[in-house]
Symmetry: C3
Subunit: 265 residues, 3 copies
């Protein structure tokens, strides 16, 4: 029986996540369920898309990723499911899966989206405020039971895609930005290790802060020092050793990050 993962902006206080598990296990009693995150900032689709991109690939082939960050629930936005690489994704058609889709396409993996339009696979009563419970959880459970995607929906070729800011090349490096912060207070940027590969004597500038060179590990510098390093998902990250960069710096999501260096000889 496949694994079902859950990612939402529901928080853990109100039982909404528990309800989805109850619905899933009512239909697919043996499904294994793993929580990816339920603390996505409310309505922050891009943040949900980033976490999905960083985490989903670590699950076995056949895993079903159920994701609900859904400010448009109950409006005309479509419910969708997508076959991407070896995984299936279920949730609202609002760009939540677009970073996973871009990654899959970049390595020539199949990407097939379906509009979920077969209400006989949903709960009997569909609210206009909680499709995670009424549409997406039943869909994920039926998929876990082996029902084919083609049975649950109709192929579409126009899913909503986010177009997040991309790093821009400069005369001596790259211009990127802070795209998220994690629970440690590390600042995640949209600059990847690939961008830095051909450069040496690197410096990283964020607002008034200049960091010289990359380190390989947090413990390479003394406590309290600001460092730049490649994080576990391959992105340039700015951190404070044994501290919180987001708390000690004046820095926010959206701030510009400059990389300067010179070409490796």
């Amino acid at each position: 029986m496949p694994i079902i993962t859950l990612l939402t902006d529901f928080g853990l206080k109100d039982g909404y996540v528990g309800v989805m598990k109850g619905v899933i296990w009512s239909i697919a009693p043996q499904a294994q369920i793993a929580d990816l995150s339920h603390e996505i900032t409310p309505q922050n689709i891009l943040q949900g898309a980033l976490v999905l991109e960083h985490t989903s690939s670590y699950f076995p082939n056949g895993t079903i990723h159920l994701a609900v960050v859904d400010p448009g629930v109950g409006t005309l936005r479509r419910p969708v499911a997508a076959h991407m690489g070896k995984h299936i994704f279920v949730g609202p058609d609002n760009g939540l899966f677009s970073l996973v889709a871009a990654r899959a396409r970049s390595v020539a993996q199949p990407v097939h989206f379906y509009h979920l339009d077969q209400p006989q696979y949903w709960l009997p009563n569909i609210s206009r405020v909680f499709h995670g419970r009424d549409i997406f959880a039943p869909t994920a459970a039926h998929l876990a039971n082996g029902v084919a995607l083609e049975t649950l929906g109709t192929p579409i070729d126009d899913p909503v895609m986010l177009d997040p800011a991309r790093p821009m090349p400069t005369l001596d490096g790259w211009l990127g930005q802070v795209i998220d912060t994690d629970a440690f207070g590390n600042l995640q940027t949209n600059l990847r290790s690939e961008h830095l590969a051909g450069l040496e004597r690197l410096t990283v500038r964020l607002n008034h802060i200049l960091i010289k060179g990359l380190v390989q590990a947090f413990g390479d510098r003394p406590s309290g020092e600001l460092i730049a390093l490649i994080d576990s998902a391959g992105y340039l990250s700015i951190a404070q050793v044994n501290g919180s960069a987001v708390q000690s710096l004046p820095a926010h999501v959206g701030d510009t990050v400059e990389i300067h260096g010179r070409p490796v000889a």
Copy 2:
């Protein structure tokens, strides 16, 4: 093997919830466990009762709901278990299950409470501060193993029942109140869709705020607007589109909510 759900006010930091899972799996190794919430406000029995009422029915028949919001732990308050509808509930006798009981009785489902008084089904040493670990988790696990409720306790007919404030009819509508807030900052009231069914030209008043009409979905209005809608559990809720009503309004649990309208012609 039945599902066991967990609802507590323990938070997730200290490992108390993990301990209960260890105790359950020591007795019933194959039990499936789902967290409903561990972020009930400490000692807030009514809030726990509300979340149980909103969530428990979405689980399959036979599910065992273990709930611990228990300021009276170690005093004379009784440990109880209850058969209600197709589910079993385990926890302290302090009203935590009274909203589920009221709902079950309102649809003529059986409600049978038992005083847990058979210590041979508990852990060997019973603290006076953590019955979730010492009494309730072992009880839930034995129930999952098929031990009958009648074996674990003695029937009682006087469980503690909360009597939460009910909406009162007015000349042109209803007087209710805010009973909780969720992680999105939505204000949940004790007014249900049934109360509003016969009224049109609805207005909702909360403190100095007047909201005209109900919307069906969050996305029906622009970002930042205050809206009233029926939430996923059937209650009137006041929300801010893509925002937090509780943060943007001067509103608190217990505040009066007025519904005005005129009878449908």
Copy 3:
């Protein structure tokens, strides 16, 4: 199949915990996983060690405890696993397991540490920032599959051990300290029930606060009163009935706690 528990300082927002579950289930698809805590204060090894000591023993024999509070990740600190009592522990060699080890030794249980030095049991690419994903999760999964500890590493006899402050005897009692606070705001001290066993007419002093006597249960005193009691792990704890001692007192981790009494006649 054994249970795997997880304890980290990762928080639940970023999906790091979900990634570890994905890695575990990719290798050991049937492993049961329980979260102990993911809200250890970042880099607070002692707090992680305390929660492990309080919680791990409630799991069945054979349980594998995967713990990652790891400020030295990617440096020379060793990855380790340890057989202690009937359980196995996996994580960084930084003292995280030293309280469990001390407890095991105090009751003459075996304690055997191994340096994890067999990369063929890890993920193919090892980052220097996320050994929880790359080394520890695969190790725990292989252990759950029945691979022997001796196969995964080399015995060592010099694991890092914390030496936390111990209570000191005084003329009429003990001098201890506050070592942690829990989600209820209770202040946990390093004084255990054993320290208090021979004393009567007890008073507890914390900064300017004097508490007379121990109570057995929170509900033994009226709401708002400060009380001292033995907590569910056997430690002296200072609490506020239906409130938060840490919020209502001027008290912090590290503050001195004095016990005064006189010998039982």
